[in-house]
Amino acid sequence: MRSLLLLALLCPFLTMCQPITIKGKAINIHNEPVAGATITLKRTGETTISDLQGNFGFQSSLLTDTITVSAINYEPIEVPNNERGLITVILLPSSTTLREVSINTGYQQLAPGKSTGSFTTIDNNLLNRQVSPDILSRLEHITPSLSVDKRLGRYDISIRGLSTLFASRSPLIILDYFPYDGDIQSINPNDVESITILKDAAAASVWGARAANGVIVITTKKRSYNQPFKISVSSNFTWADKPDLYKDQRFLPSARFIEVETFLFDKGRYNSDLSNTTTRPPVSPAVELMALQRSGQITNQQLQQSLADLSSIDIRDQLRNYFYQPSLNSQYALALEGGTNKFNYRFSAGYDHNRTHTVGNQYTRFTAGWENNFKLLSNLEWNTAFNYIQASSITDNTLSKIFTGGSYTTIYPYAALAEDDNPLPVVKDYRTALITSAQNAGFLNWQFFPLHELRQGYNRSTSENFAARIRSSLSYKLPFGLSAQLLWQLEKQHAPTASVLHQDSYEVRNLVNRYSIANSPTTRKFIIQPGAIKKSATSELNAQSLRAQLAFNRQYKQLFINIIGGAEAREAERESISSIFYGFNSDNGTYQLVNFDSSFLIYPTGGRSRVPAGFDYGLTNNRFVSAYTNASLTLQNKYTVSASARKDASNLFGVETNRKWQPLWSAGFAWKLSEEKWFSESSFPELKLRLTYGKTGNIKQDAAAVPTITFATGAQYTGYTYAQLNNPPDPQLRWEKLTTTNLGLDFSLKKILSGTVEYYRKLSIDLLAPTPLDPTTGLISTMKNAASLKGQGIDLQLNANMHLAKFNWSSSFIFNWNEIRVHKYYNASTSASSFVGSATAVNPLKGKHVFALFSYKWAGLDSINGDPLGYLDKQSSKDYTAMRNADVYSLTYHGSAIPVYFGAWRHSLGYKQFAISINLTYKLGYYFRRSSLNYTALFNNWSGAHMEYTKRWQQPGDELHTTVPSMTYPASSSRDAFYQNSEATIEKGDHIRFQDLRLSWNSTVQKSFLFKKTEAFFLVNNIGILWRANKSGLDPDHSSGYLPLSKQFAIGIKTIL
């Protein structure tokens, strides 16, 4: 980044009494003239406008005055003038400007006016509109082409939709110059200057075989020479309320749950569990009571009373009280920077403390960075950057242990965790009778008190991350516009995770009790001695990158040439080690030697098992070697042609050397119509057409051309080292390839409106996809370069900007259309059952969307018994097996399960020093499957519970107003699967969301070249849904049942001294 400050040039003095000619030139940071800028003399009020070459001038009686310069798309600026002669005013792009920032591709800085590719740059102002501990989550809702899939509770970013089916989907992330292998969470957002998204082939193909998913280049803040010392401090706080557990539909309130249990009890569902005297599976308190009543130990009246008491308990209230808390994130940042003519530096430090929603969980991060530039010689510059990150997170795992065990994956809803704030035990893993009798048989106490464990912190694990990055580069300017650069980066990360299970924790007591043998009726011999269990795992990352690059930058009259070429090598080695210590005493570091080789009798099941070992070692090493070039020629500032090529090689295992080298290339053309003489520049100050074409690649690490095996240590019973066959060899294996064609138009209109519209087509070929195999071959499927995807879309961004008196209004509208369809895919199985579902994973069928949503046709409920009905050969049918096995084309195809149209509409209104900004987002053209009731899972492991149980069919006539099938016993898993995957559980996903509201106050005090700037803001995030197409009141972004995000409230302040 070149100079960001305005400069005034010294000129000879003139006398003060005569009228003085003030002449100047307005230019942008690329040294291009800014036409149409308004120049005002503050004291005299005289005004003029700069011409096409950016020149302006006036006569004034005052020598010392302040010149204010404003222009569309640029930040207004004030220049104190006490000089005569030519004043050069450098205008900085305003935050709402699309394309006037220089583009960092990771290899070079491109002037947007001379590029052909598709880039989106998010500048510092826009990045700081949101507040978050990490940087990537700030991109959503403000970045054209970028979408985030949160359906699985993850944060999967994609740029211009999917380019692959089963290989890595994440965009390549570049930090300044090199791919970033560390934890993206650990980058301090306050150190980030801007983010550039490389979208088409001309932009991304320079990154070669890892660029098909798009490239996100994160540029950290840099300083320039001749800059006064500056300190900036900032701090912000974000608060959000406890999550609303009542929003989760996958729950059955206690009374209804007991109703189901009574039903099952009467059917004999629990008989074998109740009479089981070997494994002693857990039985819920309600079922215990029913058994007591059946054996005559309590009366029916007592039973009903006890069940009514249980019904009044709701685990959600208790979890909310004890296990959840409002979250509070605090962030502090400090930066010091400055520079002389030979040296500049920036020091930054940050501290984050996040308290999350779960009690006991927290995250702290400390970051420090130092970067400096030395001009060793007039043409030799040495840059060094050093970064240190220390992060630690504490996780309390008690919440995840609150499930009943045995076959039950969750807990009964009437579990009482506390009474008068005193922790209570819950049923866990075994019959209560066994737990109680164990006390007198020499076992350790076998009860599980979740709240006690939470309060004592018995289940906490700590993971830390120490990361350091050193980068050094030498840039040498040679004659004839040549320059050479040598870059080297070392990245080290040490991430230890430690969890000490307290000796009184249930997990330890359970383990000790299970591995114990009766000594006498009242004593046990313990194989594992009571004591804490310390588990630790460490992962180390060692990455090194080296790059040598030659650049040629020269202007020959009307021809501007820019060529870079270079080579780089990169190695990332990850080592992971885990270990376990039994009987660990944290006071003196002693531990118990455990026999991991022998099998011991397990109580009460009587099986034999070895003591869980938990030792592991892993080492991976990825190496890449690449050579690349990128060239562009611009003629008369009108026509630009560009080309790039790259070759990659890697040690990807098993791939033949000839396959390792994959040439990827791109070509592009841009035409600035607004520069043509025949073009009327008054209405379109800028109009530029771009066309590019090229190829990028994608890698899947675990496919190989030869048979590979994975070794494992310690086979059960023998202890032998053994190996698993990974995949059948495929000598045809190739890397995935994406071809992109991009047509773009950049324009500005009447100085108010500017924007970019792009149309693209994508063709992904040679995609690795599991191809089902004849199971007689011994394999069910294998990965082959078998599939291809075809996609197209539009990225549109419109910016409007208006100044009216003291009001400043700006608006930004983002619209994306992205439609990726399966072009080629081998489906050996065309049976309906393999296509229905929620399409949270890719669901490829030729001609359909990648995330294709299919349903069984729904014919309502049987009016006699409430069975769900479908269609088989156009006849209403209950033959679920036949419908499962029917052809996929018998299903209803709804469309995409991810938005086809999406975007945001952002408005900002400024008045004096105040600004208010809101962001509305929308997602359209898609469907989702809501969660629903599954009787099989409800009966067997309680996980199939759902609020719609209350709406189930119970008597003839109910079929007129419900789609929820009746409860039957035995439950039929195919009947459940039919209902859950039928048209009855499909909803339209379209919605408009009030994403956020931001109020800010800005104060800029100008004091002779030293700006003092303060900004304070208040932000509300995740405000709510304004409109939704579904009638069920569901949040389509959280359709799989994950709780919607709570509203976040943030305040912050930032001061530059």
Binding site: G606, A649, A715, Y717, Y720, G778
Partner: protein
């Protein structure tokens, strides 16, 4: 620093110029191309090679029953197999055994590329023999589920697809039943040439395992003379029997993993229907044990409600899967049957009594006697049923003995849901004695389905 940079630059140039070697680094330490003998050995030592054998063989046999409530709570596959539904099929009962065949084929292919040196001949021979053994053993168990019973007189086109390559592009085709058995016997005979006399753990096959397997195969195809000879060869090398008086009958499972009778360890796919809490032993079977017969308490647990549960699988584990492996008790019974069928009553009864004296309470056993080979055979078949229950062998025995009117029997299953009683029967030689091949294999492999 400048010097460092220069050094780095030159390193870089070296790296780039000889990147072929630099790029040969393994991307993951635990990965390997199976090219060394140790790699092949590790593939065969995978516990998966000793587990995941077909479970349908026992589910459909009538050593046990479950209550309606327990039956209703099981998977569709378990439920259908339990009542011999004519379309009952188990996809993992097919694909998982064939995965073992793939590993064996891959090992044999890779082995051809390795020349053994005098130092590692023993290892090389073991691998070669073991690969043949695993392949033969897996094909044998598959044949019991998916091929019609053997009939030397009239061959039958519904043999197994016999794959001998790891190349998944090669199509599958069904062989005849005779071809299938010939292939199995050949694999075992090859294994015999290469395997050692003993191994430390019975998870690895040795010569006694091959002899035992051959004895089992020849018994199955009713070539009793050969069955007897191979059983004899096995017992010459290894004949340890466990004295049940030394066991703790109260234990959840009185047998440990690799108990001394186990010659080769193999177990089935885990099935929830075999959970000891659910499986109730057939009452006729239970009542056939004498009070002094220790098997009555070692094998079964009293549920204290008039029913009994089988708990004593030779897998040494508790429930879920059954023992499909080879053990000396079975081989004594094979030899005894072979003696009886050849008219040698004395030797037959001698083998039977050698086994049974270790099964009865010390001092209570009065040796059985028989005056005719027929009497001996009746006794041996009864004891075979009592000793080898829940071993996946009954299905094969039913298929074999149903051809003989003396021993043919109709199986019955009863499901009582409280309001109605459903009875299912399986007549001798019913086509349902051969399971349906999973639909995927029929569609993707293009092979014909078993007839119904």
């Amino acid at each position: 620093m400048k010097r460092n940079v220069l050094i780095l630059l030159s390193l870089f140039i070296i790296i780039v110029s000889c990147n072929k070697d630099w790029l040969d680094k393994k991307p993951d330490i635990s990965l390997a191309v199976p090219s060394r003998l140790d790699d092949l050995l590790a593939l065969l030592d995978n516990p998966a090679m000793n587990s995941s054998y077909p479970t349908a063989l026992e589910i459909a046999a009538t050593d046990y029953y479950v209550t309606y409530a327990d039956w209703a709570a099981r998977s569709d596959d378990d439920r259908e197999n339990y009542i011999w539904h004519q379309n009952a099929q188990y996809s993992n009962n097919w694909s998982q055994p064939y995965n073992k065949i793939l590993v064996a084929n891959l090992v044999l292919e890779q082995l051809q590329k390795i020349t053994s040196s005098p130092v590692d001949t023993a290892l090389y021979n073991y691998i070669k023999g073991a690969a043949h053994f695993y392949r033969g053993f897996t094909y044998y168990l598959l044949s019991q589920a998916y091929c019609p019973p053997y009939d030397a007189a009239s061959d039958n086109p519904y043999g197994l697809p016999l794959r001998t390559t790891s190349d998944f592009n090669q199509p599958s085709a069904r062989s005849t039943v005779v071809e299938t058995y010939d292939f199995i016997i050949n694999d075992f005979k090859t294994a015999l040439k290469y395997l050692p006399l003993t191994n430390r753990y019975p998870s690895r096959p040795a010569k006694p395992a091959v002899y035992a397997a051959l004895a089992r195969v020849f018994l199955c195809i009713e070539q009793y003379e050969w069955a007897g000879r191979y059983a004899d060869s096995c017992l010459l090398i290894y004949n340890t029997l466990v004295n049940y008086n030394t066991l703790n009958a109260a234990a959840t499972n009185p047998f440990v993993v690799f108990n001394p009778e186990v010659i080769f360890h193999a177990q089935s796919v885990t099935s929830a229907i075999f959970n000891p809490a659910r499986t109730k032993v057939d009452s006729v079977l239970f009542n056939s044990y004498h009070t002094n017969d220790l098997r009555k308490t070692v094998f079964f647990r009293n549920n204290n409600n008039g029913t009994y549960t089988f708990k004593a699988t030779y897998t040494g584990q508790t429930g879920g899967s059954i023992f499909h492996g080879l053990a000396t008790d079975e081989i004594y019974l094979v030899r005894a049957e072979a003696f009886a069928r050849s008219g040698n009553t004395a030797e037959a009864m001698n083998d039977l009594n050698t086994l049974l004296i270790k099964r009865w309470k010390t001092g209570t056993f009065i040796p059985f006697s028989a005056s005719t080979p027929q009497q001996a055979l009746d006794l041996i078949l009864l004891e075979r049923r009592k000793q080898l229950c829940f071993r996946g062998l009954r299905w094969t025995d039913l298929r074999r003995l149903n051809k003989d009117p003396r021993y043919a029997q109709t199986l019955t299953r009863v499901l009582d849901n409280g309001t109605s009683v459903e009875t299912y029967t399986l007549a001798p030689n019913d086509p349902r004695y051969t399971f349906m091949i999973p639909e995927e294999a029929i569609i993707l492999g293009g092979i014909p389905q078993n007839p119904r």
